[in-house]
Symmetry: C2
Subunit: 202 residues, 2 copies
Amino acid sequence: MSEIGRPRSQAAHDAVLKAALRLVTKRGFRSVSVNEIAAEAGVGKMTLYRHWPNKAALVMDALLVLIGSETDFPEAGSAIESLRQQLDLQAAFFRSSRGNLIRSLVAEAQSDPELAIAFRERWVNPRREGVHQIMRAAVAEGSLRSDIDIDTAIDLLYGSLYYRLLLGAGALDERFVDTIYDQFLEGHGASAQALDKVRARR
Amino acid sequence: MSEIGRPRSQAAHDAVLKAALRLVTKRGFRSVSVNEIAAEAGVGKMTLYRHWPNKAALVMDALLVLIGSETDFPEAGSAIESLRQQLDLQAAFFRSSRGNLIRSLVAEAQSDPELAIAFRERWVNPRREGVHQIMRAAVAEGSLRSDIDIDTAIDLLYGSLYYRLLLGAGALDERFVDTIYDQFLEGHGASAQALDKVRARR
DNA sequence: ATGGATTCGATACCTTCGGTATCGTTAGGG
DNA sequence: CCCTAACGATACCGAAGGTATCGAATCCAT
């Protein structure tokens, strides 16, 4: 297990990640060049390409390493409350400069199959799994109806957030989160299930 | 009022639109070059740029002119049935090679503000307006609860379709449409409203 | 310590692509 | 019939992602 030659510089690695995050969140993926990122990091272009195979992989890493935890589930008194707070958090995340990063990566992924897979497996799926868990807990605590189709529910709730982020179809404010959350509970809250039983009894 | 000089060739115009549609639906926006489109159309590059200011505007036009009507609302016995059929139609549209075109334009719009505006105003908004009308009709015929927030309902339903199209998070098949439609009616169908009244009476 | 292997930052370079400029040629309205 | 603008073709420009190569620096193994 040879460790021959000069070792990789962790400082350079970190500086490039930070520079990439700063520039891309601010101005977007396409309008930031690799030369700029290297210059901002005070690093040679070839050093950058020794650490990442291409621009997309670098920015994807910057997202995961530097701000991946910003959408973690907050602690809350109940699962359903935690879900609600995470929806707000996700909307705030999209509304902030981080939103540019997500928009950029989704856009780039449309013409870069490798990036598409990486984004789905390393960003989307882990977060879906988190929502999945919390929804199962919400079912267990009796806040959501037990016959809910969780995957589709996630598509509806989080799909609408991505829709507004990418299509610019409307504000990603708390009022919007309020509304989709209310509409969601209207159909999937435990009280809706109770009402179904009323209907069934008739 | 002057019509001096050689007139624009409608044949060239149409050939470029057709070539752009064919190539971009097949291979995607980024991997098709303007040179290819011009060659495929049997047209000089400068002729292309005399008819459209840039590649994005051309492809946007191809979408609207050639296949804009493919997502029109089908005739159906009731408004709610028409809504359901249009959802299926939209999913089939996204699932077909047309989906590549939409994905390409949404992606490109993330770094092209003019295209973003054009796509929203010329594609998204007109179709949202169609859904809006049909949902109002569904309320009027008693198929949807009268207190529905239509704009948010559109975000939920169609947002989830765009989400699956762009994130590749799952199949856009009829089963999926079935499920989101059922979940939608669960919360917003008129019977749900009736059940609310049962709850209120207690 | 010293030498070999590898990374470092810097810079020149290659290729591709969107878009422009310029040819001589062609069509048609005044 | 002729003047003007569009036509197809092609050369060109600038920006950008990625590669190649440089001498210098750094660490491990001997």
